[in-house]
């Protein structure tokens, strides 16, 4: 019970007590129906807050941010050590043996995606083509875990991308305010994210792998299109973040 004692719990207790008091006071003593109704609405709100108090994550957002920073920091060190300077290709789960979307960081910039036609082995260093330079590192990103959250849902097809992204980013992670997806004539997707609450230090890794938000978007887009995708551009202003995704 102790872990549920958060802001919503105290709000629920206050609303339930005030609601009971209002109902008793104004119904029994004053016979005022509108004020008794206000008390009843407080009771309903109190019940809702009590339900939400039991729904908050068991670990604090700070703990989650700490774990994310640690894992991203380790990948950053690995990429710097290997001298990788090519943007990541986000693979759908159908092209990985782990069963979840992952990011492939190729060693050479002239990657030929025609070799990406069968699941890559579940290893850190993978060979994806017949030539010696067709080597890269395969890593899990925040997007890999997010796409797994949608495992039970059908996210195939373009129409499902916006609702899937909204479901993950707004509903499950509560990380942004809203998501809008549009498609250009050349097939690239532009995802406009408003009200982002994910902010952190700008590590060098983000240039090659994309920010955690872009990583989530790319993984879900790859899963929905069932094709390898790349983050083409990520622009941010005060109101929203625009992420452009293209088929690799």
């Amino acid at each position: 019970m102790h872990r549920y004692k958060n802001t919503y719990f105290y709000l629920a207790v206050a609303l339930l007590c005030a609601g009971v008091l209002f109902c008793l006071l104004f119904y029994l003593l004053n016979r005022s129906i509108p004020l008794t109704a206000v008390g009843a609405s407080m009771l309903i709100l109190g019940l809702v807050c009590l339900a939400l108090a039991r729904s908050l994550p068991r670990i604090s957002p700070e703990t989650g941010a700490m774990l994310l920073d640690t894992s991203m920091g380790n990948i950053n060190l690995l990429i710097e050590e290997l001298g990788l300077r090519v943007k990541a290709i986000y693979l759908p789960s159908s092209l990985t043996s782990s069963g979840k979307p992952q990011a492939l960081l190729p060693l050479s910039s002239d990657i030929d995606t025609k070799w990406l036609d069968r699941p890559l082995p579940q290893r850190l260093i993978v060979k994806y083509g017949p030539n010696n330079e067709n080597v890269g590192i395969l890593v899990s990103t925040p997007g890999s875990v997010s796409a797994v959250l949608l495992a039970a849902e059908d996210i195939s097809g373009m129409d499902a991308i916006e609702s899937s992204l909204t479901h993950v980013l707004v509903g499950l992670l509560d990380a942004v305010g809203g998501v809008r997806v549009s498609q250009s004539n050349d097939g690239d997707l532009t995802i406009r994210i408003s009200g982002s609450r994910l902010d952190g230090e700008n590590v060098a890794l983000y240039e090659w792998l994309g920010t955690p938000l872009a990583s989530i978007v790319a993984s879900i887009a790859a899963e929905a299109m069932d094709k390898p995708v790349r983050i083409l551009e990520e622009t941010q202003n005060k109101k929203h973040i625009d992420i452009r995704i293209g088929v690799a």
Binding site: Y27, A37, I44, L45, L47, V48, A51, S55, H167
Partner: protein, 89 residues
């Protein structure tokens, strides 16, 4: 504002506006007020379809309580029509 806060604020705003309307029309029927609040609550909860599955699971119990109360009010009203005297309020 997080999704949970937006949900609570939406519910509180709708309840407040409804209470103002009740006061303006000087409503004298408590079961009607309760019925309207319950319906509003159920609608707003359904509109927030992107809530966390854990929150949705917990809110189902709130919805069950509210729906049971709604059924109780309807049964009491039917009994009142049949028997000719009010059972509640």
């Amino acid at each position: 504002m997080t999704l949970y806060n937006r949900y609570i604020v939406s519910l509180a705003l709708i309840f407040s506006l409804t209470s103002v309307v009740f006061a303006l029309v000087a409503i004298a029927n408590l079961d009607l007020c309760l019925t309207i609040y319950i319906i509003e609550s159920l609608i707003v909860t359904e509109l927030f379809i992107y809530l966390n599955p854990r929150a949705k699971r917990n809110l189902i119990w709130v919805n069950v309580i509210l729906f049971s109360l709604f059924i109780l009010l309807v049964v009491a009203k039917i009994a009142e029509i049949i028997l000719g005297q009010g059972l509640l309020f």
